[in-house]
Symmetry: C2
Subunit: 249 residues, 2 copies
Amino acid sequence: MAETSTGAAQPIKEIADVVHDAGAMLIVDAVTSLGGMPVEVDEWGIDAIYSGSQKCLSCPPGLAPVSFSEAAVKVILNRKTKVRSWYLDVSMLANYWGSDRAYHHTAPINMTYGLYEACRLILEEGQGSCFARHTQNHHALKAGLAAIGMEYTAAEGHQLPMLNAVRIPDGVNDGEVRSALLNEFGIEIGGGLGAFKGQVWRIGLMGYGARQANVLLLLSALEQLLAKQGYKFDSGASIAAANAVYAIA
Amino acid sequence: MAETSTGAAQPIKEIADVVHDAGAMLIVDAVTSLGGMPVEVDEWGIDAIYSGSQKCLSCPPGLAPVSFSEAAVKVILNRKTKVRSWYLDVSMLANYWGSDRAYHHTAPINMTYGLYEACRLILEEGQGSCFARHTQNHHALKAGLAAIGMEYTAAEGHQLPMLNAVRIPDGVNDGEVRSALLNEFGIEIGGGLGAFKGQVWRIGLMGYGARQANVLLLLSALEQLLAKQGYKFDSGASIAAANAVYAIA
């Protein structure tokens, strides 16, 4: 639902209606979205959904939360062909997770404790506050980038708060800027994928990473590096614009 | 190679010769053995081998170290049918692990640090010393159990040091003893699997768990609980026998 190569939010409820009208079931990738924006599994009619622990949940990588609708479970339990993968056999996983506790694998217990704590922290902050924090920092970053002439790849109204994909300005060297951000400032941003390689930067504001300090440091550093690349803009404008957004809140 | 339901060590070198003579390749399960006894992947002619992090490596569960022989890699690279599982597609994993770094998954970095540290601790102790420690504690446990009339399921000369499978004496209640060990002493031993259910106990002495304190506490606790079950034995004999083994070292 959060498409990480383009930074676009997909309208899952609308897609689910079309899919169900056609008699099919909907599987959703919520790796990037979960914990950073609403994911209404039942309300939107999602039949199968999976996520990861390492993005907006801000937990170490290594677990994939999953959920299935009653309709999906029915299909799984009535499957006629043998599942090829022991590891990903959902019916065996269900028996392990359920009251039977039929042995399937040794559970990564430390990861489970980590995920529990990550979820607890989100509930402590409040889901609404957590999502609002993601949105606010996205707005501040976006205002800052716009003030120095940088544009998002996704259309207005479809931009993800936690994954900001922006076009690299003409004449600016992708690799040089990303290396300098990493080596001089300790900031890692993503390069473009596929057709977007060398064309796009992908700036994550996920979970614990979605905060003022990160937005302001990135914009300051980017101004320094873009100026070195010969890119023309109103110096300091990105910080002024971002802080104007924070001032409203 | 360490069969955990029977506690038997498999003679991998001999099996590999038979397998290769027949023109086949050998895959070995080294989940229980790695870190507790020699696993000579190349010398024994193993084509594919996998292990786990949570047994004799004494690292949290969540990673499976794997290795493939050149012959196995050749078969993998020349595979004609599509791999059904993205997750377990070894050729994709190889490209991710290799110099290409072609994205496949988000690596569980915390687990990787954990495994690194676990391997470092084994090398610090010395592999020879580590294996000898497993063997010594196994001998002490075995002497203790023998002194109170308990027998191993695996034949002499084929018993694993890290997984001690022993027959439950007649008239002794499996569940009652294991529950009491866990609840009163904080010791968890495994029950029998399959045909061995209710017939066998499986006592792990793996990695950090392979030490005198664990052997002596288990034997002491077992004597107390077996006596309650009405099982007849020479009280204290298990401890005397185990300590006699430690005295030799």
